[in-house]
């Protein structure tokens, strides 16, 4: 690194430090991942806008009132909310370096996530069985795109969760694994935030329409 010697006299040459000071590994990961989440947020905003525009075009097909079962949606919301708090507990035990408890909370989070996906797929299968396929109307196309994209995010979150559990089991709670678990924490809580928008805009307001 170049050392600066600043002189008060103007005739003397002035040196500045041109090298950027060293950052520890992964110091900018959290900010970078946050910016990724914000870009993901924009994707969901576009899908919400599409649903907002097309959500009333039933093409003489089924409307939200004919299709949605709010009890099932409430159960689904509970699953995702519980998975959020259990992931929070996993982060708290991780900070205390309790590897067994961290793995247990991560496993419980995964099970709640799996329950959420199972219920959602059951709902989709039921709708498609009744003829409410994505091709039926613009409302159903935008519904399946929005809710399906969220479900796909949860699926990839689960794959990531299992990967990190294997990583943690093999290498322990190393600095890199902690960083990865914190990224997944943000991803998981972010998906819960998106789900608030989904159950409000799509399901609750759909039933009021």
């Amino acid at each position: 690194m170049t050392v600066a010697t600043v002189s008060t006299q103007s005739s003397e040459p002035v040196f500045h430090v041109i090298d950027e000071h060293a950052h520890p590994e992964g110091a900018s990961t959290m900010l970078g991942f946050w910016i990724y989440l914000m870009s993901d947020c924009l994707i969901f905003a576009m899908l919400f806008a599409t649903y907002g525009v097309l959500g009333g075009n039933y093409a003489a097909g089924p409307a939200p009132k004919d299709l949605f079962d709010l009890k099932l949606v409430a159960l689904n919301t509970t699953m995702l909310l519980l998975s959020s708090i259990t992931y929070g507990f996993a982060m708290l035990t991780m900070e205390k370096s309790k590897i067994g408890a961290t793995q247990a909370w991560l496993a419980i989070t995964g099970l709640f996530g799996l329950a959420f996906l199972g219920i959602e797929l059951t709902e989709f299968a039921h709708m498609i069985h009744e003829g409410a396929t994505p091709q039926r109307s613009a409302f159903l196309s935008s519904f399946f795109t929005l809710v399906g994209t969220h479900g796909l995010h949860v699926t990839f979150g689960l794959v990531w969760l299992v990967t990190l559990m294997v990583q943690t089991a093999r290498f322990g709670l190393t600095e890199a694994n902690r960083r990865r678990l914190m990224c997944l924490s943000m991803f998981w809580h972010f998906l819960d935030v998106v789900w608030i928008g989904v159950f409000t805009f799509v399901y609750l307001l759909g039933m009021l329409r």
């Binding site: 947020c41 905003a45 576009m46 709010l70 708290l92 600095e175 009021l208």
Partner: protein, 130 residues
Amino acid sequence: MTTEARTLEANAGGHGHDDHGGAAHGSLKSYLIGFGLSVVLTAVPFWLVMTGTITDKQVTALIVLVLAAVQIVVHMVYFLHMNTRSENGWTMMAMIFTVIMVVIALTGSLWVMHHLNVNMMPIHDMSQMP
């Protein structure tokens, strides 16, 4: 925290409470407060819509939307640990930018498309034709 845990943490790369503006952490209390608020803010809109307590649908919709907005803020603060200090304020800056973009995209799309529907696709009532 025990001394042993502190040493472990230091060995793990000093992932403690750094004052360098890193990512924020939560505590058990903050997670439980956030969870409690979320349960209430989820249960109330579902109860309102499922039972139809308020007969005026527009009032119900407005309450549901406000509760959703509050719940999003609760999740941001208690689960995503959003504050003005983490990463020297850059996470907040990124979020404010995103919120502005989302608001422009959502209100713009809905507004424009609503007016297109109203103005460009008149319903011809043939019985009124001369």
